[in-house]
């Protein structure tokens, strides 16, 4: 049974959301303020880790919260190494708010007021996308990209002894590029498939994610040989490193 953590301070919304997900067979844990949410999701390093409590499959996170706002919570989560998928819910629905949420580390974003079937579908979708990103595409679970190996089932990138955790979106982006290795994937397609955003959205999110991935897989991230930019179009993961590399 998937377990959700709902971080929402508005009692009516929390009760209504909880009621619906429980009816659909989810276990729902509710927290009403930002500081307690951080304790649960990104506790201080000296205490028991966030893994200590019951495993959470997905977090539904409100932005306006007492104590600490949703953007800060998701940032702290990612810093603490918690890569549980996060769906942000907020009254602010402007495109820049959506982008801010996604860039803070959220995996999906739904402005209030929302349609109940859409919320339920988004949550199912995120859990499904997580399972998709986790599953090895074809062949081995570990996929080599340059010097690094991508461990999709564990959302991690292994480079020698170093393990770099990946967010759901990073894993999905990498997976899309790996599956289409050698071909150009347009930015619009990436926005649509990975971010679930309108392909015309103005955002640097994709470029930032590629830049972060480059730091881990390229020898020189300023002169990328593997994760290539195709100017004005999108990105391509090179077949294999050119001989000169």
């Amino acid at each position: 049974m998937p377990r959700l953590l709902l971080v929402e301070d508005e009692e009516h919304l929390a009760a209504g959301i909880r009621f619906n997900f429980e009816l659909d067979g989810y276990e729902v844990e509710t927290i009403g303020d930002g500081l307690r949410a951080v304790e649960r999701l990104a506790p201080a390093p000296e205490g028991p880790g966030w893994e200590a409590g019951p495993r959470i499959d997905l977090v539904i996170l409100d932005v306006m919260l007492p104590g600490l706002d949703g953007f800060q919570i998701v940032e702290r989560m990612r810093q603490a190494g918690n890569y549980t998928p996060v769906l942000m819910l907020t009254a602010k629905g402007l495109p820049e708010d959506v982008v801010q949420g996604l860039e803070a580390g959220a995996d999906d974003y739904l402005p209030k007021p929302f349609d109940l079937p859409v919320l339920l579908a988004r949550v199912r979708g995120l859990i499904r996308r997580r399972d998709w990103a986790r599953a090895p595409s074809e062949g081995p679970a570990l996929v080599r990209v340059g010097d690094a190996e991508v461990d999709f089932p564990n959302f991690a990138l292994r480079k020698g002894d170093e393990i770099v955790p990946l967010t759901l979106l990073e894993a999905m982006l990498l997976k899309l590029l790996v599956e289409r290795r050698g071909q150009v994937v347009t930015k619009a397609e990436i926005l649509e498939k990975v971010w679930n955003l309108n392909p015309h959205t103005e955002t640097r999110a994709v470029d930032n994610f590629v830049m972060r991935l480059r730091r881990h897989v390229e020898k020189d991230s300023r002169k990328p040989l593997l994760l290539q930019t195709v100017r004005g179009v999108g990105y391509r993961l090179a077949d294999e490193p050119p001989p000169s590399a």
């Binding site: 301070d9 508005e10 009516h12 919304l13 009760a15 209504g16 959301i17 009621f19 619906n20 009816l23 303020d33 930002g34 932005v63 306006m64 919260l65 007492p66 104590g67 600490l68 706002d69 953007f71 009254a91 602010k92 820049e96 982008v99 801010q100 860039e103 803070a104 209030k112 007021p113 929302f114 349609d115 109940l116 079937p117 955002t203 640097r204 999110a205 930032n208």
Partner: protein
């Protein structure tokens, strides 16, 4: 990082203020340099012709004017920046106050539409939805009241019973928040007649009671007291035992859009208009309002004082009251 770029673009323009302060510093430095370079070597020196003295005098004056002008501009800018900040907080607060109940209403409507529900569950959902509508209505009324009640004197004051008005406000508040009778205690005479706008004053008292309930934590006990004094003034005091506030906030709480703390980490509903409306209404009655709090977690007290206390049996009262 783009996230920080985005948030930077929304932040108030403090750097303009910094430029202004920098310019003042430059002007002061230039003035000092001018004093050193152009001042007569010794006062009354003969080598210093009258033209030079005049130039020195007007030059100094010009520099001082320049500094004064710059200071004035920076002060005005600072005010604008603050207002801008409060306004953007207000937009944020109203967005939240309007969208939250709408989101809740939509969620419950969707649930009623898509799910098979037991009758008692449906009844519970209807109750929730009614409360959401109530909340929406309050926000809308607040925004309208803020536009309607200005500091201008009440157009047609008429005799009204402040004691009865206060007791009615208590009943409405108890009902609205579904509170037990003892949560709000009324103390005062059976009638206390003043001259004013009954609807406006009721709004003011309701806003004070609303705040008192909203900002009470575990200990929900609100006292409302009404009395008249020998100077012909009527007073109304609302005291709570809630979260109170630090003294630094007291001078600002009646300002439009002012709210304590950052909007995004808000723990209590509101738009920053409630007390502004109360003050506007009181000013329209030529009265005064004061706020006091011994500190955080030690409750708050608001006192309204209104001139125009009427005797118990003023002439023509009946006719006016029914007008």
């Amino acid at each position: 990082m783009p996230a920080s770029q985005l948030s930077r673009s929304r932040r108030p323009k403090w750097h303009y203020v910094a430029v202004g302060v920098g310019l003042i510093a430059v002007a002061v430095a230039l003035t000092v340099a001018w004093q050193i370079l152009a001042a007569p070597a010794s006062v009354g020196s003969r080598a210093f012709g009258p033209a030079r003295v005049v130039a020195y005098f007007f030059g100094s004056l010009l520099f001082l004017l320049l500094i004064a002008g710059l200071v004035l501009i920076v002060i005005l800018l600072l005010r604008e920046v603050r207002l801008n900040e409060r306004q953007s907080n207000f937009v944020s607060a109203v967005t939240h106050e309007l969208k939250t109940p709408v989101a809740s209403l939509k969620l419950y409507l969707d649930t009623l539409e898509y799910r098979e529900l037991a009758p008692d569950r449906r009844a519970e959902f209807y109750r929730t939805m009614r409360q959401d509508i109530e909340r929406l209505n309050t926000t809308i009324n607040n925004v309208l009241s803020a536009a309607m009640y200005t500091d201008r004197p009440v157009a047609a004051p008429r005799p009204l019973d402040l004691a009865r008005l206060a007791r009615r406000a208590v009943d409405l508040t108890l009902n609205r928040f579904q509170l037990p009778r003892e949560a709000i205690r009324y103390e005062g005479p059976d009638t206390l007649r003043v001259s004013g706008d009954p609807q406006a004053l009721e709004t003011a008292v309701l806003n004070l009671l609303d705040n008192a309930v909203k900002y009470s934590r575990d200990r929900l006990l609100v006292e409302i007291e009404v009395w008249g004094d020998a100077d012909g003034q009527a007073h109304l005091r609302v005291r709570d035992h809630g979260i109170g506030m630090s003294r630094t906030h007291l001078p600002f709480i009646f300002t439009r859009f002012y709210r304590i703390g950052a909007e995004v980490r808000r723990s209590r509903a509101g738009t920053g208009l409630g007390l502004f409306i109360v003050r506007s209404i009181v000013k329209g009655h030529r009265g005064t309002i004061t706020a006091d709090s011994p500190g955080p977690d030690r409750g708050s007290t608001f006192t309204i004082s209104l001139p125009g206390l009427l005797g118990p049996e003023a002439e023509g009262d009946g006719a006016a009251a029914h007008a």
